[in-house]
Structures are given as C-alpha cells and as structure tokens.
Symmetry: C2
Subunit: 236 residues, 2 copies
C-alpha cells in the first residue's frame, strides 16, 4: 500500500537558508512544491541557483513568480542604493539595515498561501531564522506565528474547516553553523547556493556584505571551508 505524500509549498531563494529548509521539508516526507520570486533583486544569480537546486533535488513543481518590488523602492537590494560592506559583522539584530526589503516575506508568504490553497497543501516552509540574521522584522518567530494565524482566517479550506495551515520555520532557532551542519547532513551542496547581496554576474560573492559575513561566521564555527570559495577563491 502506498501513501501519497503530503504536499508542502517551500519558499526557495537559492541561498543557504532556504535550500536547507527545503531539504528539511523533503526529509520530513513532504512532496515539495518550490516557489521562487524574480523581484528585481540585484543578486539575481540566486534565482539561477534556485532553479538548479530544485532540479537537483528532484522537484518537478517549481514556480518562479515575477513581481516588481522596485516600483516601491526603499531597499538596497532592489533600488539604486549601495549595499553596505564591512570587514566584520556589526550591529546585527539591533537595527534594521538598508538591505531590508519592505514587506518582502509577507508578500512571499502570501503567494505561498495562494498556491498552497490551489494545490490543497496545508504546509508552507520558510527558511527564516532569528539568531544569526540581519535583524529583519519579518524573520522573527512572532511574525511567523502571526502569519499562520492570518492564513487560517484567509483561506477557503481553513474557513470551511477542511484543513489547518501550518507555517514551518525549521531554522528559526538555529545558528548559522547549525543550519550549515543540517544542510550538509541532508546532502545540500552549498557550492551551488548563493548568499551574497551583491555578487558579480558570475556569482562570485563580495565577501563583505552582512550576508557574506554571516555565512563566513557560520562556516568558521563548523570548522569547514565554504565550498563556494573553492570555486571562486577567497574574497579580497
């Protein structure tokens, strides 16, 4: 007797966190439907990584939704504002940086909710974490809980009592090093992920944005070399 696996929608940016979150969803037996966005991000290499990653994990359902967050402006990730560069991590979690994209996770989760409703999925995975993170408000556990509450009032199936939606944030309480260890244990090839906010067109990370520095800190804590740098060489 075969059991049809439960469907889950997984947000997939192509970075270290979302690829690990997706691998966790697969390890829990979900039939993963991956959802990515072309949102005018300056680091669009991560979208290419997302496509390759989904394919490498045998995911046949991967949608890339095109939305234009640039029409609002307001972020270094989408507008003509320079991405801040440092030599060491500063102020993480105490102020919200200019790389924050207004309402990005709310928009992404909303689309995930729409797709979940159409395919009859009760589970949505998002790779946010609130420990080694950039201090974005929409990465915190209380935010995720509020979205889950909303989701259960917003949809036809939830209102009709047919299902209860769950927003999974499996990385919520993990350090970057823990995430890397979990990803490696589940076979994630981090050489094929992209974390940098301002990479070259070929995907070489800048090494100095918050995201590069968090990633480097994580790999340092695991005692392993980041395979991305084996490919591109260490940043200057």
């Amino acid at each position: 007797m075969s059991v049809t696996p439960r469907k889950a929608v997984c947000l997939l940016s192509g970075g270290l966190d979302s690829t690990t979150a997706l691998a966790i969803a697969q390890s829990q037996g979900f039939d993963v439907h991956a959802l990515s966005f072309q949102y005018g991000q300056r680091h669009s290499i991560e979208l290419e990584k997302a496509k390759l990653f989904a394919k490498s994990r045998g995911i046949s359902n991967h949608i890339v939704v095109e939305i234009d967050l640039r029409s609002f402006g307001g972020s270094a990730l989408t507008a003509d504002i320079d991405v801040p560069k440092h030599d060491t991590l500063t102020q993480t979690g105490t102020t919200i940086p200019i790389t924050y994209v207004p309402a990005r996770n709310t928009i992404f989760l909303s689309f995930a909710l729409g797709w979940a409703e159409v395919i009859g999925a009760q589970d949505i995975f998002i790779g946010v974490n609130a420990l080694d993170y950039s201090g974005y408000p929409d990465c915190r556990p209380e935010y995720v809980a509020a979205f889950e509450h909303l989701a259960n009032l917003a949809t036809k199936a939830a209102v009709e009592g047919k299902q209860r939606l769950k927003i999974h944030a499996p990385l919520a309480a993990m350090s970057k090093a823990d995430i890397i260890r979990a990803g490696l244990a589940l076979g994630v090839d981090f050489a094929e992920t992209s974390s940098c906010y301002d990479p070259t067109p070929e995907g070489k990370p800048c090494g100095h944005c918050d995201s590069c520095l968090l990633r480097a800190k994580g790999f340092a804590e695991t005692g392993q070399a980041d395979p991305l740098y084996a490919k591109f060489g260490m940043p200057s």
Copy 2:
C-alpha cells in the same frame, strides 16, 4: 500654518466598493496613494476604470503592480473556468464561490504594506465588506484584524516603535445600498466604475454574475437607477 496631510495607501480595483472606500479616505483628509493590480483578471476593464477614477479624484500617486496569479490557477476570475451566472442571488455567504481568488486580499494587502512602509504611511484602506458580499473568507472583519496584527510585527517602523499601522475597512459593516449612498454623497460617479466579473471588452456588465446581482440589489434598495445601465442599457 499648513498641516501636511497623512498619507494612506488605498487598494483600488475600480469597482463600486473600492472607489467608495477611497472617497471615504479622502473625506477623512488622507493624502491617498492608490494601488491597483494587473493580476490576470478576465475583467481587466476595471483597471481602466481605476486609472480614470484615480485621475478624476486628483490622485497623482497611483501604482499598478503586475502580478501573475494565473500561474496558480484555481479561480474563475483568472483561469479558464466559466463565471457562474444566475437570475437571482443564491447562497451568498454560505459557501465560497469559484470566483474567489486564492489569497488575493492577502497578496494585495502585503503589497500595500510594502508601499506604506516605503512612503511612511501608517494607514491602509481596503474596500471589503462582509454584509452584501460573495462570502470570500478574506473579506471578514476577523481577517482584517489579523492582517493588522501581522502588519505591526512585519515592518521596520512598527518594530522600532515609530508608528502603528492601521488597516481601515470602512465598508465592513455597510450594506451595498449604504455603500452606494456613501459613495454618491462623496461624489463618486458610479457610471465610471465596473463591478462585473465577466463584462464585454467595452465594459458592458453581464448582469447575472454575483457581483452584478449584488450591485443591482444595492441600487434597488436605494431606489435609484444604476448609472452604468444608462450607458449600456439593461442586461438581457
């Protein structure tokens, strides 16, 4: 001494409800920033109406965001499913009809939240109502309250304690007739709105979808003729 009016983002579909909600926001002194969506709706005439309406109300900030909800399918308003037609209203509020678009209001409000954050607005208006409505889950007061709660956890300004976001749903408890009376009192020209889910390319309403029937019921209760029909003639 002049006072700079507070900014508000108003969702504007071009229908009877959203145009009235926008007029109410203006009557309360808000500097309205109108937000519409091209979402693959089959009734795209309402978007033309939205543009003309915003212009007629002196609104210089009107953004139309293009998103493709058709990639998910699942609704008669975006997919190749026929819009149901009736001679009288049936089952309103008891079941959720096929014209429901999965997570539509959640997606729309998420974009409104992003724009509000960028322009520093604390107020978002949405023209949902839960009395003479089609039974969509994301039109109910508890849904609107849940989104407001989420919004206050999602944004930089809210987290930093600089502002509290409010989601206004001024039509929430109004009947369709009340909405029409309010709109007329505020100078809304309903001949220039479009409510039909399945109009002709020129904008002639079908007269038999839920939205046409709700609109007809509302005008009947006010004792006034719908000016839209003065233009196109009564539906067959």
